[in-house]
Symmetry: C2
Subunit: 144 residues, 2 copies
């Protein structure tokens, strides 16, 4: 029998996950465009709005991204004027990423983004919470 059911596209969990993640990034795009941010840049800004002046290493730990992704992304954020990058004086290996005044101010404009997305989803808080928990568990299983 040629048809191995386990290889059918509609049997996969990976594909809807992959497609949903891409659709999510695309759904954010028009909202973030108003802020001059891409989705990964938005994630970096979320971290910095919570804890300013962290190293590239810490950003990478929070977002599970490496320096190969973050270094050029941060340079773009710097060019756009949202962040500053400077070598640490205590440990010259480390690069400290800090918000500029504009970068801090951008948080106010960004405040409408989560609300807009939650409207878009049209799900109850409970449902979003459950999905978030599921995604975290999936991540845990897949990343070890």
């Amino acid at each position: 029998m040629s048809t191995d059911d386990s290889l059918r596209l509609d049997r996969q969990l990976c594909f809807p996950l992959y497609a949903a993640a891409r659709a999510m990034v695309q759904a954010y795009a028009p909202l973030l465009e108003k802020l001059g941010l891409t989705y990964p840049q938005y994630l970096v800004m979320l971290v910095l709005w919570e804890e300013d002046g962290v190293s590239v290493k810490v950003l990478g730990e929070r977002l599970f991204l490496d320096s190969g992704t973050l270094t050029p992304l941060l340079k773009r954020l710097e060019t756009q004027g949202w962040v500053r990058r400077e070598r640490s004086t205590e440990d010259a290996r480390s690069v400290r990423v800090s918000l500029t005044t504009s970068g801090r101010a951008l948080k106010r404009k960004a405040a409408s983004v989560p609300e807009a997305m939650s409207c878009r989803l049209g799900m109850s808080l409970e449902e979003v919470t459950r999905l978030r928990r599921d995604m975290r568990r999936l991540f845990e299983v897949l990343s070890k």
Copy 2:
């Protein structure tokens, strides 16, 4: 109050979704490396193993990818010897993508991949089914 809770990273649904999707692709990588495929290439092969000789357009419809992604990817699959690309004779705008003998044979080696992943997940079939349904619904909401 500076701290708008709605912008906290741990409040987002998008981030675990994004992280899980990337972790999933990484989890597939060592399995697919044995086959000489990347994850998106594997998705294309899943479609072709189900229906051989489809156009780039159909591949795009199945996988929600556009020609900007598929054209170079298919050229790489062709270089690797898994597929053939040829202009349709009925409609010269269309490009028909067909499996080579090797490409068809690769399906046997790929058969172990879904099983390996399902072991990795360590979830019940019911749970996988529920998650898949959730991801599809999320995709539907986000892609319209």
